[in-house]
Symmetry: C2
Subunit: 429 residues, 2 copies
């Protein structure tokens, strides 16, 4: 049942009134340089923020064995974060509404070279409508909004009338194991909302992601005899070419995948890191690349991993040296399926109403070629999994930023969504 217009107006007003405080919380979160494995202090800060609001809380580690057994688990390598997951649980006085999970991740990708940033990436700053900082858009703005929704309702004496679980996870940028661990821990609800920066649109479908590493061996000799050796750095180029051909083949079959028919280039391969050789004057004996590629919803990561291995093997067979020294392919992170949000759910209808009230525009949807934690809820909980969040620029790039006006609209939408989906009750009877 749509929200009463007067209540909706009071909620919007309360969100707006709390917006500066919300930006302060966002700034606090951005100041934690939470690259992979360094999320500990930030998660403790989040836990304290949950406790201040009177929620029940849990803080727990990944269960590597359970993750390994689950089809949605990604490899837990040496680089894997050992920071805890933090969960806050609001329980109503009377459970009259529909339960909900709100989830955000605190991990961020590396800032990259400092000189490509206009300012310190971990010192948030504002310029006009833009709020700058690594991880601000992706996704500490959304993280702070989860608190702002509660704070706005509380400011007008209300709270959700259903169990609302707020999950602060890690490993979203590398494995998706944080979201999976919440599922493995047993948290369930009737819907989930994840406020990733999605240009105020609702994600309709999303690819899966596979990370892999290819290690190429060379034959090191003194450079004066370079012709008799095999340069591992240059041999790697043949592997990259083969992977680009694989990417082209995968993009060519997009017509077979609903929601992706009209996406120009749904399958992006990224050669993200390279390292090789020990000495300018020695023919390099080794070179390794770290890569990421998308897979369509419905494709199994294991099947696509075999296709990647095969592409590398075929490329190696065409090379005299590599045929005898085949490159090694290992899977080092994301091993995740894509998902689609089936249209027609009540949760989507409620979000669409909230969005229209908050922004005056109809809710549009979006198909994205990246990884999203919503896949856990869509695939394994089989609940409406809503990914929706603010306008941003340059996530994973330099001068990452989000629009504060957009974030304000998104927070209104989230608060209106929570109020209608969960219902509200007075804090004091």
């Amino acid at each position: 049942m749509p929200l009463d217009a007067a209540l909706a107006a009071r909620i919007v007003q309360a969100v707006d009134a709390g917006f500066e405080r919300q930006m302060d919380l966002t700034a606090d979160l951005v100041r934690f340089a939470t690259t992979r494995g360094r999320e500990h202090a930030c998660q403790d800060y989040v836990l304290a923020a949950m406790q201040q609001r009177g929620w029940a809380t849990e803080r727990f580690a990944m269960d590597s064995a359970a993750i390994a057994r689950h089809p949605g688990g990604s490899p837990v390598t040496a680089d894997h974060s050992d920071a805890p997951i933090v969960v806050g649980i609001h329980r109503p006085r009377e459970e009259t509404g529909r339960s909900l999970i709100l989830q955000s991740h605190v991990d961020v990708v590396p800032a990259g070279p400092r000189e490509l940033w206009s300012r310190d990436p971990f010192e948030p700053h504002r310029d006009g409508d833009w709020f700058y900082g690594r991880g601000g858009a992706d996704m500490k703005a959304g993280h702070a909004a989860m608190f702002a929704v509660f704070d706005a309702l509380a400011a007008i004496g209300l709270q959700p009338a259903a169990t609302l679980t707020v999950q602060s996870v890690v490993e979203e940028e590398s494995t998706g194991n944080g979201a999976l661990q919440c599922h493995l821990r047993g948290y369930r609800a009737e819907a989930v909302l994840i406020p990733e920066p999605e240009d105020e649109k609702l994600i309709r479908a999303n690819t899966g992601v596979v990370w892999f590493r290819v290690e190429v061996a060379g034959l090191p000799v003194h450079v004066s005899q370079a012709g008799t050796g095999q340069n591992a750095i240059e041999a790697t180029q043949g592997v990259i070419r083969a992977l680009r051909e694989l990417e082209a083949r995968w993009n060519a079959k997009r017509a077979d995948f609903r929601h992706f028919e009209d996406i120009d280039h749904p399958i992006n391969l990224n050669i993200g890191m390279i390292e090789g050789g020990d000495w300018a004057s020695s023919v390099p004996a080794w070179c390794a690349i770290d890569c990421r590629i998308a897979i369509y919803p419905g494709e199994r990561p294991e099947t696509m991993q075999r296709a990647i291995e095969e592409a590398v093997t075929l490329a190696a067979r065409a090379d005299r040296f590599l045929a005898n020294n085949p490159p090694r392919v290992t899977f080092t992170g994301f091993t995740t399926e894509g998902y689609a949000l089936e249209p027609g759910s009540e949760a989507e209808a409620v979000l669409a109403r909230a969005h229209e009230t908050a922004t005056g525009e109809p809710l549009q949807d979006l198909v994205t070629p990246g990884y999203l934690d919503t896949r856990v809820y869509a695939l394994y909980d089989r609940i409406p999994a809503l990914c929706y969040g603010p306008i941003s620029e340059n996530i994973h790039g330099f001068d990452e930023r989000f629009s504060m006006a957009s974030m304000r609209r998104v927070t209104r939408t989230m608060a209106l969504f929570v109020a209608e989906w969960c219902g509200v009750e007075p804090i004091r009877p």
Copy 2:
């Protein structure tokens, strides 16, 4: 005047008798893992070995300012070794012969991946005629031979009848500044012999070497928008292609360079190291390659550096993104000229006689496309600069090894050469 046959026979016998001790000294030297900057302990060991033999010694540091002023100086970067140079000086009772410098370097190139070695690279071992270990061939075998020559003469009561300076240097594998520093320090002689592993041949001509680094900037974006970014790792491939074309052009002009007309591929470019990117799922913002290329004798390194810069600039102009973000070329090590040993010197004639006596074969010469410290003496002292040493395999590669039978022949040659060039006198009058 050729050595008396009976004396020559006694010297050969003394070398052979001392050969096991010589191999023990070689093994001691190989056990020091003297990669760049880690030669301190080894140089102290060498100093002690010189003092045990009663030589005057000097131990001194590089003079960066003097190196920078000299046309043969290479850049002193942060990676430059700060290990000392060690010099031992034998002075005869009566200066009746011709003075000589014997020089070896103790620095070695990195061992590379341990798994490519059959055994620990810094634990020397023998298998049949092969003596294995990183830096054994290049050039601790030659280093130990400098002592073995003295020890062999001493065993039959003799010593060189001229000033003989034994120089133990560093930075031969990266800049050539160690040899240059000996020159700057003022050491001079009428000839120099450097026992690098040259298959029992005499180096007739040798290329110069230039090291350089190319840094390529990319435009980092989230991989889901990879098409709008610029992958620095892949952009680097265009730079590598341009450098390979430069290499081909330089090889094509070999007919213009005496001694190099008939060398199949005198100019070797090596892409020795690569590093780029921070995250598998971010389009890499940076990539850097460390390279080495040879230049012909008579070419000035500065001129060839300009040609390298130009090749990179032209490659960048052909790329929409790189044209606006030109790669940066820096010069990071070797900036050295090649040299030729003019035929007809008395020093060469003496070496040829010694070689023939030691091996029964005429001395052959060799043109090499690498760097040799002999260039300092050929170019700046303008003395006969002899580079001659044992048969080896896989220098700079894995399972580096030298032939002990060859090393024994080379040591005989060196001892006979010293005896004839410097003359001999009884140790005790």
